[in-house]
Point group: C2
Chain length 346, copies 2
Amino acid sequence: MTCRGPYRSRVDERRVPTIYDVAAACGVAPSTVSRAFSRPGRVNAETAARIRQVAEEMGYRANPLARALPTGKTSLLALVVSDVTNPFYFEIIRGAEIAATDADYTLLVADVHESATAERKALERALPLVEGVVLGTSRMSDSAIRVMAKQRPTVVLNRVLTGIPSVITDNARGTRRAVEHLAALEHRTIGYAAGPEASWADGMRWRAMREAAEALDLRVQRFGPFAPTLAGGAEAAAAVAGSSVTAVVAYNDLVAIGLMRGLAAAGVRVPRDVSVVGFDDIFGAELCSPALTTVAAPLAALGRYAVQTLLTGMASRTPPQVRPALLPAELVVRESTGRRVRRRRA
Amino acid sequence: MTCRGPYRSRVDERRVPTIYDVAAACGVAPSTVSRAFSRPGRVNAETAARIRQVAEEMGYRANPLARALPTGKTSLLALVVSDVTNPFYFEIIRGAEIAATDADYTLLVADVHESATAERKALERALPLVEGVVLGTSRMSDSAIRVMAKQRPTVVLNRVLTGIPSVITDNARGTRRAVEHLAALEHRTIGYAAGPEASWADGMRWRAMREAAEALDLRVQRFGPFAPTLAGGAEAAAAVAGSSVTAVVAYNDLVAIGLMRGLAAAGVRVPRDVSVVGFDDIFGAELCSPALTTVAAPLAALGRYAVQTLLTGMASRTPPQVRPALLPAELVVRESTGRRVRRRRA
DNA sequence: CAAGTGATGGCAACCGATTGCCATCCCGCG
DNA sequence: CGCGGGATGGCAATCGGTTGCCATCACTTG
């Protein structure tokens, strides 16, 4: 019998059984035990059954690390989010987690605190461990993302990079719905409270907004950029209050809620004086007062679909779909929008 | 030169360099390369410097899997949460993540969808990969937790198990503050909208509430149990509206918010007719209308401290602190509580 | 009856690092 | 000049699986 190592000289108290232990107990070779589990059919059915039973009795579990070393199969997927405390991600994480678990993968959620360097560091740490990566709203440059993507199958969320599969919300359609809604409420001059410059979605939304406004013959005004947070929204309130717009579409719900609060503090009433539309329909959009009219992003679906895309991409040898997957966004009308009233000067 | 394996017969296109490659490039043995990184001083300073530089040039990164196999050091920690979409966890996750990253660990967040069996499965999958576990609000039985804890260092959050380190919110103190606040507002009969039976925190809060009420000579009434969700709170509204209490402390903020909404729907005004106090101060507590008065749990600190406790426990050989760490909770007074008004029958 | 074929199991070489132990070499000192 | 000891580097055995290849053996088939 082989003498096994300087690491565990004596038979330890309660060490976890390995294929060697199972093999010894069954009187077969370790390779046979391995195959009994991973190569059904490669081993005589009876032998396999016996091995399985003995393994079961001994409480054998394959060591995922040991398995991963030669095969590279860690059964781990990374989801990188720019900020876990952003409610935007809750449902995305949940959706991704479910899809991963369904496929027998474990999801590693990495929070990078809105920092591109933290993002690169987190990836560097996680990359060798995981089989694939979903990049949620990455703050990295396109080229940096491409470098990562060369090392591991990658799917990006809410961003389009040619050659890299992506899953995005249909921003154009959602924005159009919002603008149409405001137009129907007789607003003629509407504002856009912009998010971070680096945000891909921000660019999309702003562009879609100008197009939709033009089609409907509305004037638009851009405010910002603002941080995609409540504080950013509060900051936007000053700019909006001093302007002549009667309705504002915000980069996202956090900005919209912050904006409403700022507006309220400044004595501007929502929706009487100014209507506000958010984006995403995060937890809290329904809770705030007035309840926020918003473009609902299919958050859970986004997470789920991103992981599924990643998995199919990993399975097939050829680079998969090049066209970004567009998931539909719908307008949810609540209380923060209303018919335009002639605006009094503040 | 050794012929390396059936796995990679030819020199692959862009395979990532290993210590063997670096060793060959430097004309030293692989073990020397290994020591140049992990055993400073064990290798001649010049040699080490040369190795480091060559490694740098080649873009060498140690393979964490390969390192982990013999040593068991995966640099991974698990945080198990009962529901990632519950805003209660956002700050906890963030705090835990920061503490983990600071210590050069990566945090694996596992969502178990409020199910004890999913929890056990997730743990089974993650346990061999991680060096330690933080159990956030586990739904598992004490004995099941003890079984897990025998396999890996474990810290539990918001729950006390003798012999297992835990980090908890000072529920008693927080509850007392809430009750004192209500008493000061002249409420004489207060309700408690209970959370899940299985929740350890629920038991603590209810008990603390009775004690505090007794000390202040108030009457208390228990409603529930309810699911710890908005829906659960809405359900509680019916019970509360039909009772004679003039103030309610809810199991947590989600229940409190759901309760307020249910109350509003039933025509009961908050805080005029009924005052409501929540627990945790999650994202959204400040947003809802009226803004929720609540006992603020030190969420980020909870996550951070749990991970730190875990890490120190892992470092020292002896089982660490047995007394649970109590983190202070403070009452945040907002708009959902007010002076008692003689209650009209509904 | 010999050669061919498929089923089954074992051997041993990996994956890429870590580490106990040994071999050298150099230096100082008695 | 010889010996003890510290510094340095290499060898080789692991960690626990996976898998290419070969040996056997039982059956077919011609």
